[in-house]
Symmetry: C2
Subunit: 147 residues, 2 copies
């Protein structure tokens, strides 16, 4: 739980520095994303709260508001699917990209230095500044190919 405390401290600092107010809701949502090593969407986070934190009654609007805020201050990040909306994960130190199954939604994380470098080169060459280093490869995972 040390990691946990650290990131909650970070949250508190950011909130204070922005003249905002620290709330239990924000902490719970951040903790879920940091602790569970999964990619979750707003609805899934809502369910987890109802199951694991039954004393909390967090509205779905608050979840969306909090997710937007946490992403803005870089404590979490999101990847978006064609239509299934967005999924979030707690930010770790290491940047990585995603391999996403378009059929079942399975996500594999990977990091490839060559691609990272090439990405930067291409962006620079075109006058772009990569803001979030986000890249996704869509395809079919083994299971879904077999169907």
């Amino acid at each position: 739980m040390k990691n946990n405390d650290k990131i909650i401290d970070e949250l508190k600092n950011i909130i204070k520095s922005k003249g905002m107010k620290y709330t239990e809701q924000r902490a719970v949502i951040l903790q879920i994303l940091v602790n569970l090593d999964e990619h979750l969407n707003a609805e899934e986070i809502h369910s987890i709260i109802q199951k694991d934190y039954p004393e909390q009654n967090i509205g779905i609007a608050t979840i969306y508001r909090t997710l937007n805020f946490l992403e803005e201050v870089n404590l979490i990040s999101s990847i978006s699917f064609g239509k299934n909306g967005k999924k979030y994960e707690g930010n770790t130190d290491e940047h990585h990209d995603h391999l996403i199954c378009t059929s079942c939604g399975k996500i594999v994380e990977f990091l490839d230095d060559d691609i990272e470098k090439r990405q930067e080169d291409i962006a620079t060459k075109n006058g772009f500044k990569i803001t979030d280093h986000s890249m996704q490869i869509y395809g079919l995972c083994q299971n879904c190919q077999d169907k």
Copy 2:
């Protein structure tokens, strides 16, 4: 207009082979995406039709249905934005990827063989089959950085 005829023939063949029916609407939508060298969303296509094909009165539902169909049979392809929805482009022979400005929506197409190869390697290593070879880099374009 030769290119045009060719792709419309292709459309006709696909439609016939599937026991479906050829309609003017489907042809118009495909032609717009093939002729205009732009990335368009459903609403934009709708406007273009009202302006350039005033004799046609194509409902927005038909546009969505047609776009889904055309993408399924690989005559067009789409890229998706965070929330601004999806944009479509006519398929050319050469595959390419997209560099997308998250602020103004500007899109730059590029192709990098190294990345293509690495992508394939990574996908294969993880049991994935890349279905649509889609990759997007999000960032800020020159203009939007200057603001």
